[in-house]
Symmetry: C2
Subunit: 542 residues, 2 copies
């Protein structure tokens, strides 16, 4: 360090150094916002005092079950109170939260349980059969199960396991938390969805989770007492860390078990939601919702969207519904969003087509990120801010993962060159805003030219009949690859292959225009990402 001439007595001590952790936010919320509403699900309403107590009970009960600091506790739950509480209760036991995608198959769940050696798993009754199959597939005994029943949603307790509320009842409400001794201690372990091969376990630490909450308040221009609807699954990058942020701002978390237009509009009406996040596919649900489902509102609702680049048309349609939208971008490896498409005042003066095109860019780094750049894939030098030159997005900052669990080779590869290498291909515009054009593996190379699937998709989305689309590479004898489009049409709308190809041809260079268009429902992951690897297989076999 850069020592002063005399450093005597200037060491860290318990008064001036406390490891950064989102646990501090919950402790403060109890002291400062104790009587304010904290967590809502259907008829259930808890204030921050109660959430603090329930999380303390969870930490106590897990410790009594033998969970030790550094152990992993899994959860297989949709967005219900138990998983929100686990974001505090599991770390308060010193343990690491492994929130598992509820859509995963038994085989993959078994792999995850085994890979992270989960000690306990909180399992929603709906997903109990899959988890039970997973346990049968395992060599060892697997985690001890705690069942989280949700009778109001139609999923009563099976009676085979200790139920979550019973578990809490056994816990000590004044349990002394195992605060992290080191802010580098792990807080969560999130397995990437893994389009090919086995999923990788992304290890996040208390420091990063804390800083993510601080930066997001600024990025979202959030003042006190937001009413936050948990739409993004908490098993997806810990719901972009928003649950950890709510006690910091005295906010209320409203749980959304079923992600559909009816639930979201219902919550806007009944709970006066002010903030939520969602993938573009969720936004499309809102846009395409029938009139009977739609709800008018007169207050500001701020929406973060991420998970896939939204098309300009989607952004326009969502704004027309009255939402204030900002795109953010990130990866599981970065705790969620690490860029934001800040909307400068000057943009109000430009044409709406150009404005929505700019809002569809991923933008610039959020406050806690130290560096995000786009570099040439060969030279690793930053690309010019010219709106065309492509390169790979690389990142540095305190909200980049520790590494992949039990996978030092993949970790080394991800961090080669001293930055985190995202595998995303992008350019930077004149203002330095990043526009992702593709995942490295999604790029289409036609006649030696790079074609951005994102660009072709945005063009198709501008067609009035197109509800959703995806463009992938199709092998071609002459061109190597050509763009191949898969399209979902809006209800009661028609458009044929030739019409869509002509529509694109008017707006795109010839080599970027799809040579074939197929109409079908698109395969999606639970987080709303379109599964392009499946479409690529289809395109190959067609």
């Amino acid at each position: 360090m850069a020592a002063m001439a005399d450093e005597t007595g200037l060491e860290k001590n318990p008064a001036n150094y406390v490891p950064l952790s989102p646990l501090s936010h919950l402790r403060r919320a109890r002291d400062v916002f104790g009587q304010r509403e904290a967590l809502v699900y259907g008829d259930r309403r808890y204030n921050w005092n109660e959430v603090h107590e329930r999380c303390s009970r969870m930490a106590s009960a897990l410790s009594s079950m033998g969970v030790k600091p550094g152990d992993v506790v899994s959860a297989v739950c949709p967005n219900i109170p138990a998983i929100a509480e686990a974001h505090f209760g599991v770390p308060a036991a010193g343990a690491v939260l492994n929130a598992i995608n509820v859509r995963l198959d038994a085989d993959t769940i078994a792999y995850v349980f085994d890979h992270c050696d989960a000690r306990v798993a909180l399992v929603d009754s709906q997903f109990l059969p899959t988890v039970q199959r997973a346990l049968e597939l395992m060599d060892g005994s697997g985690p001890e199960l705690i069942e989280v029943a949700d009778p109001a949603a139609g999923f009563p307790a099976s009676g085979e396991y200790q139920e979550y509320e019973e578990l809490l009842a056994t816990g000590d409400p004044s349990f002394r938390w195992h605060d992290p001794e080191d802010e580098w201690d792990s807080i969560s372990l999130n397995y990437t969805s893994g389009t090919t091969g086995r999923p990788k376990g992304v290890v996040c630490h208390h420091r990063g989770a804390y800083l993510m909450t601080m930066g997001t308040v600024i990025s979202w221009e959030m003042t006190l007492y937001p009413r936050f609807l948990a739409v993004v699954p908490l098993f997806h990058c810990n719901g972009w860390c928003h649950t950890w942020m709510m006690p910091l701002v005295g906010g209320t978390i409203i749980c959304c078990r079923n992600i559909n237009a009816e639930s979201i509009f219902g919550a806007i009406r009944d709970e006066r939601i002010t903030h939520f996040g969602g993938a573009p596919i969720v936004l499309n649900m809102l846009v395409n919702a029938p009139d009977a489902v739609r709800v008018r509102f007169d207050h500001e609702i701020r929406v973060f969207t991420a998970g896939a680049p939204p098309s300009p048309s989607t952004i326009e349609a969502v704004e027309e519904l009255g939402f204030t939208i900002m795109q953010v971008y990130g990866l599981t490896e970065t705790y969620g969003h690490v860029t934001e498409c800040l909307h400068p005042a000057e943009w109000q003066g430009i044409g709406s087509e150009e404005r929505y095109a700019r809002m569809a860019r991923q933008g610039i780094r959020i406050p806690v990120m130290e560096d995000i750049d786009v570099v040439d894939q060969q030279t690793r030098e930053p690309v010019p801010h010219d709106g065309t030159t492509l390169g790979e997005v690389i990142m540095k900052g305190n909200t980049v993962m520790r590494g992949y669990y039990r996978n030092p080779e993949a970790t080394r590869e991800a961090f080669a060159g001293g930055s985190f290498q995202t595998g995303d291909i992008a350019y930077r515009d004149e203002a330095g805003y990043i526009q992702i054009t593709d995942r490295l593996k999604d790029i289409i190379i036609s006649g030696g030219e790079n074609v951005s699937s994102v660009e072709v998709e945005a063009t198709l989305m501008a067609h009035p009949a197109v509800s959703l689309c995806a463009v992938v590479a199709r092998p071609d004898a002459k061109w190597g690859e050509t763009p191949c489009a898969f399209v979902e049409l809006k209800e009661n709308m028609v458009a044929g292959e030739a019409e869509l190809i002509a529509f694109c041809r008017e707006r795109l260079a010839g080599f970027k225009t799809p040579k074939s268009v197929f109409f079908q429902e698109l395969p999606k992951t639970s987080t709303g990402k379109i599964q392009k690897f499946e479409l690529r297989q289809q395109a190959r076999s067609m």
Copy 2:
């Protein structure tokens, strides 16, 4: 640490660990807010690109002068651009900023220069004679001086030293900053005003300065692009760290050289100020300003007040002018404010007298503080939240100083028991809000009863003729001590000793009522604190 079963490959690396520092905010502001207005002083206006460049030049020029990481660079300047820039330029050279109170006498300045071994000092032309006298008093040669001329304010360059703008011209605008290798590295060294004995040097680090900025955005409910008037002197706890915060939110710093009602109202009118901080004495200036000076405004202006407990009457009067006010409280040892008097919605329903009384409390801890409590002076156990039991305020958190420079004994004493001991006496109300009643050394003990000078002062301030007051202990043969009041009356108002004593007697217990009242101008420090030690001496000799 709480290790996971396998920690292989999960170490810190340059991609996932960057020392926290407010320097990151300036770097990001250049990238994200480059064209936005950053710093304003009279006719001078710089955007964030320009401020970044000027700070890089400063760091480069200081390095060329031989300043090395860990060295101290002093500044003796009012709130002008040079000292705002020094908050970034000095740390960018790896050095430690020592902002010195411009009101200090030559002897004390000489002591500070010598104690911290300042290498360079940036000195405003107005204060050059005092600093020159200080250098004459020193045994060594003292720091090399850079003169900061301000001809527009009537302080042209003396011609005896290199001028600040000349210095910047010698610097390299693309100088590579000496970012901290360790976030525990020192960023600033602030000498406490020291009412008795020599001032102590409070050492702050990059980590704390960074976290202070993040927490303050939340505490102040600040969204993007504030227009911040720098009223609090930057030599006072680095202006509560607000200068470091502005690039984080794309804000504009408007410099206020002369702190008076005319300057502040003028900036509100001309620069559309949205935020400023100031001691209660500054608020009283605004309240008591003549009509010709006052400016009406129709936008929200948020004001932090701290430095001394404001009276409920001051808060009421400032609110009537249209300001949104929140009291905060802290010490030089805590980088400034670490409690905030959050104003819950419920307070709107209570009577205004009670509401202003609550707003005069210091409140609860801000987001980045880990623990603030009031403990019994003997047992060190927390006092009950009963609104009466007195104890000492203690604190823990990442915005507590590293320690006192070259004074390990004072450091040890301050941190005895594992908390920072403030020496401030307070109670906690039913909501846990802290009300400071006195500095330990200011408390009055009359007939064995503790009398809070703050309480008696608040009572006197409610009298329509009282502009400002201070209450201290006066030795008394019978009672040991009795409260003795010093009062400044409002212009054209009259009130006699007997009237004020009777006014207090109606509202306070007999032992709390002042036995004597003197009418005079009160002695104040440059930061608006009343110098009670002088009044105590006066009271003793009267």
